[in-house]
């Protein structure tokens, strides 16, 4: 069914698993911070998949440089977005201090 080696399969499976875990967290996670973490876990899963893809076939002992560059770019983009999201979150908390309710509110 597949031509992939067990090792690759293992890592690919893990990557997919991370994606799923993150997805679950993103859908369910009641706190915004948790959802941001979940997004990062999704991202990590995808990057891991890309790393595995770069690793496969290992030409001349070096992994696929193009994919590695893509991952680096992706990482930076992800952290930028996370930083912005956290800044927004902080502002949200400050805008309504002293409220202990969970953030799962009915939409507008």
């Amino acid at each position: 069914m597949t031509d992939l080696s067990p090792q690759l399969l293992l890592y690919i499976g893990t990557a997919a698993g991370l994606f799923a875990i993150g997805l679950y967290g993103f859908i369910v996670g009641p706190q915004t911070l948790r959802r941001i973490l979940a997004l990062n876990i999704i991202g990590a899963g995808i990057f891991m998949l890309m790393v595995v893809l770069a690793y496969r076939g290992l030409a001349d002992g070096a992994a696929d440089p193009v994919l590695q560059a893509l991952i680096l770019t992706g990482l930076v983009v992800a952290v930028s977005a996370t930083a912005f999201a956290l800044a927004l979150l902080a502002r949200l908390k400050q805008a309504r201090p002293g409220q202990y309710r969970p953030e799962q509110e009915p939409g507008p």
């Binding site: 890592y11 893990t14 994606f19 799923a20 875990i21 948790r34 680096l72 770019t73 502002r91 969970p102």
Partner: protein, 316 residues
């Protein structure tokens, strides 16, 4: 076989950490587990022969994201743990499992051979001006991506500054102050090395920038480097210089291109490519370091106020 066992353990650990980070009752625990997860991830990537990425993941995925999350946690009250009902957990889980099944079924079809681009990239490496293939891709083959990526980073800073709430003043801790003074020069040295090494070995602008930022953050939290803020023109200039040096270099390269070839955006002249790339990287490193620092520590309250006032006066 033992290697496979190692791999399996690592993967299991990753999955468990991720799950625990999502499901832990306390947010703080979630963040800590996430950082651990990031470190494990870096280990896994190192195992998969991508040291560049492992370095970056350790610095960014674990370090920077963790630091950001902690500073966000510090600013909000502790939440009471929220208990979700079964349907609230079940239906998402079903959906996620279905999706996982689909993705896995698709991923099983991946071919085991590497992309044809690897050979192309290897073949063109000698023309790229650097010897490290990842750097070549980042700053030459696909430099447009990198330029836009720097813009995204800058943008995140702009957005964050714009919505930043007034930060609380924290008192510094004498011991960490003295330590940090000792730390700073070492950090700078190490960053410089990473940057230089990027041309031929693992390392590069972003890793170096992240390291520099870490040093700066420590100092900044101890009320050193008070000039390090957005309202300072020179800091702004430096932050912006990451992108502008890139653009200017590209424009310069267009000018230098001899007449008999087409003028192409972002093409470095072959002989000078190494120099251009180093220049771009240098400024990018500085800009990244400053951007990340400001992202973590935010703009000091007083300074923000002053800036707003001056901005307001200018436009009224």
């Amino acid at each position: 076989m033992s290697l496979l066992l190692f791999d399996a353990t690592l993967c299991l650990l990753l999955l468990v950490l991720a799950l625990a980070s999502i499901l832990s009752r306390q947010l703080v625990h979630g963040v800590i587990l996430y950082i651990a997860f990031g470190l494990m991830m870096a280990l896994a990537w190192a195992r998969l022969a991508t040291p560049d990425l492992a370095l970056a993941e350790a610095a960014i995925g674990a370090g920077l994201t963790g630091a950001l999350c902690f500073s966000a946690l510090a600013r909000q009250q502790l939440h009471l743990p929220v208990v979700l009902s079964w349907p609230q957990r079940l239906w998402p889980a079903v959906f996620v499992l279905l999706m996982l099944g689909g993705v896995l079924a698709a991923l099983l079809q991946l071919p085991p051979t590497a992309s044809p681009l690897v050979d192309v990239a290897q073949a063109e490496l000698i023309n790229s001006g650097v010897s490290h293939p990842v750097t070549a891709v980042l700053l030459n083959f696909r430099s447009w991506d990198t330029l836009l990526e720097l813009v995204v980073l800058l943008l995140a800073l702009l957005g964050a500054l714009q919505v930043a709430p007034a930060a609380k003043a924290t008192t510094s801790w004498p011991l960490s102050l003295s330590w940090s003074r000792l730390l700073a020069p070492m950090v700078i040295l190490l960053a410089g090395y990473l940057l230089w090494a990027g041309a031929s070995q693992p390392g590069g602008a972003f890793q170096a920038g992240a390291l520099l930022a870490a040093g700066a953050v420590v100092l900044r939290l101890n009320h050193q480097l008070n000039w390090l803020r957005w309202s300072n023109f020179w800091i702004r200039l430096l932050i912006v210089s990451g992108v502008s040096a890139f653009v200017l270099a590209a424009l310069l390269a267009m000018l230098l291109t001899t007449d008999n070839t087409d003028v192409i955006w972002l093409r470095w002249p072959p002989q000078l490519a190494g120099g251009f790339i180093l220049l771009v990287e240098l400024f990018a490193t500085l800009a990244i370091a400053l951007t990340l620092t400001l992202l973590v520590v935010g703009e000091p309250a007083a300074a923000e106020q002053a800036q707003q006032n001056s901005g307001g006066e200018a436009h009224d």
